[in-house]
Symmetry: none
Subunit: 227 residues, 4 copies
DNA sequence: TATGAATGAGCCTTCATTCAT
DNA sequence: TATGAATGAAGGCTCATTCAT
């Protein structure tokens, strides 16, 4: 093996490694940002900390993202937007009954979002959206709206097929959203919803809540029910 | 009437007025603090703003509260702690069925807390509790624990009287808490839970959700239900 | 002298001193800012330096001026704008011949601006106006326009009274402005206009230049003159 | 023609082309630097911008010039120094009257420097010379001194030939320099010398100013003249 | 008791320069 | 020779808290 070949190989290997790092940088920064934003909040996270956790210096962060706010928007895009193509397709193809479909909905959400640190993004927007209106706008546009559309479609399907009572779909969506939001908050919120001696079991809570929703959607008007 | 009595009376009146103002100060500061903390968050609220809204100067704030954090603890004490004596008594005396009792529970909470700015405190603790552990601890001790105790008592009563299915009370409590928490967040959170074209109607949501809970608690195990 | 009187006196003296300082602050800061801006340029002057030269801390500067740029606008207002009332009145009342008037004009400018550090402001705007368009706009509006109006009035008076040839007043104004600008630059510019062995004598230069202007304004078209 | 010759030729051509590119690099960088320094100032120009405008990367700039400051010195050398051989020869050979010579002087300066972007260098040194003393020194040595020498020679010639009054040559030089400096500044300075409704016409200004200078140099002491 | 001027640590962002490739 | 990713010191501005009055 000639020296030139060896050198060339070495050169390629090193360059490859360098380029791999370069391409990995934004991802590493986004991961670090998600971790820290979720842990401490957007305003309370220092950009230098994000850089440090990603293993780079302060300046490098701004090489990839022009500002802390844009970094957060990228975190949203990376982790939330763009999941909907998959989800929408999944439900368009769903064959079974709508109660099962709704339960599936909850479960997929739980696996992809609720049980992961991605759920922290929702907590963040709830917490700090008011102080960062542009971030709130972006989040609503990228995540909240598509999610509501999807859920409305599921509920309407159930009503159309006679599986659900003809409730006000717009309001019922919030009924589905509420337990999800609650779980996301609980996960990231210093346990200020519950008590240490009887901690929330998220999965059981979700099942129980889904039971309630399904019971409610299927129920005939109950006695003692609000008019 | 001796002159001294007259003087004394006058003196007392002036002193009383002065002291009333002096004693009112903390209350005015607490009101201002609640407003602003709820509006902008704890960390994002400047202590000078609080003082300004209370009509005093920056220095005066620190005369009554040694730090911003202590100010917030005082806000919690003032607005949340101490309501439980009333509430507990109310439910101890309740005569009707437990479904009605639970509905009453929701309504009282809505009137006293949920629909008022006090609900913002919960939002605050969910949002920023992690960054201020001492505040979170204080809030849990003063508010969360007593609330859970109360709700557990209600649910247990329903089970004992055969009105509710024998669910896991600890988890079911969260089922009641969740919609409350959701409403409190929604009220103070830049609309990041919903969409502008179908805004949440809090009262209807609460009724609907209560229906669901009652349907769920009353229901026999449904088909398609999680095991 | 009763103790209370003594205390009261002492109190008043101290308060007075404090208030005097408070009222003096903006002026001290403006002086410091003028010095440093003229010495190092606007961009190159750190706000902390300005504060330090005024004998206060960084934060104090921003107590009085919301930004470095506003500080500079205040420097302009303080030192340039508002002189025109005096100047305009002076020339409105002038009785003598216009050549003397123009010479007087140069001399007053020299005494009030040219020979003082205030002349550095013009140098600054010439140097950095492009990078700070809002400052340039403010300076033009507050100083350049009124100055041109005044000079045009003087030149027109000379023409009207038959003392000056009927030159294009708009262009001739620049002829008067040019030596002033040149002197201001020279004063604040590391001697990049001249040579160490034959330094510029500003007063003689100004007189000589004024002679030339007056000779030029009075002259009949000379041989070798541009068509 | 031997193969080696052919190869050698080809080699040389390729090498020549490569070297031409390589040798052109500094020139392209100097052009870019002149443009940007003149446009935005020395300190406010980012080295990356210079590289970008020259079509190379940031690193390459520092390959040819060890620092931004050295780059600027090279800009001065390239554009100002070395013109004097030509100019000096031109005036040594001049045959006509000195007034025409001085007018020629102004015109040549205007064509070669004043009306071109090179005039921006003078503006730069006036603006930022103080913050970069080494640059100011270099500029004075390379440009200001030779220019003064040349002008002094012209004026002295006029006096010697009886065409000009026996003024103080050292000071009179500044009289010639001033309008040039003024025009250079005005060209590069956000119009802070004039007003929008009566903008400066550089060529007319220069002619007018030259008329004044010549009138002044030729004039017998005028009435109202400074003693 | 009440004031508000003053402080200074802290944060986001920029940019000349370096160096591994 | 050429690249461009990475660095880190520096600068404008904020705000909880102090303290002289």
């Amino acid at each position: 093996m000639p020296a030139s070949k060896f050198l060339s190989d070495k050169f390629c290997a090193v360059r490859a490694k360098r380029e791999r790092r370069k391409e990995a940088r934004p991802g590493e920064l986004l991961d670090a940002a998600l971790d820290l934003f979720v842990e401490k909040g957007f305003a309370a996270t220092k950009s230098e900390e994000v850089a440090a956790r990603a293993g780079v210096s302060k300046g490098t962060l701004f090489l990839y993202f022009p500002s802390k706010e844009e970094l957060f928007k990228a975190v949203i895009s990376e982790n939330l937007a763009g999941r909907f193509d998959d989800w929408n397709a999944r439900f368009a193809a769903f064959q079974g009954g709508t109660p099962e479909m709704l339960r599936e909905c909850m479960n997929i959400w739980w696996d992809h979002i609720g049980s992961t640190k991605v759920s922290g993004i929702t907590k963040l927007m709830l917490s700090e959206g008011r102080n960062f209106p542009e971030l709130a706008r972006f989040y609503r546009e990228q995540f909240v709206s598509p999610a509501h559309v999807l859920l409305r479609r599921v509920l309407q399907r159930g009503i159309d097929r006679g599986e659900f009572a003809p409730v006000d779909v717009d309001q019922a969506v919030y009924t589905v959203v509420a337990p999800m939001v609650f779980l996301m908050l609980n996960k990231h919120s210093a346990d200020v919803c519950g008590t240490a001696d009887a901690p929330l079991d998220p999965k059981r809570f979700l099942d129980l809540q889904t039971d309630f929703i399904l019971a409610g959607l299927a129920a005939k008007p109950a006695q003692g029910r609000a008019s």
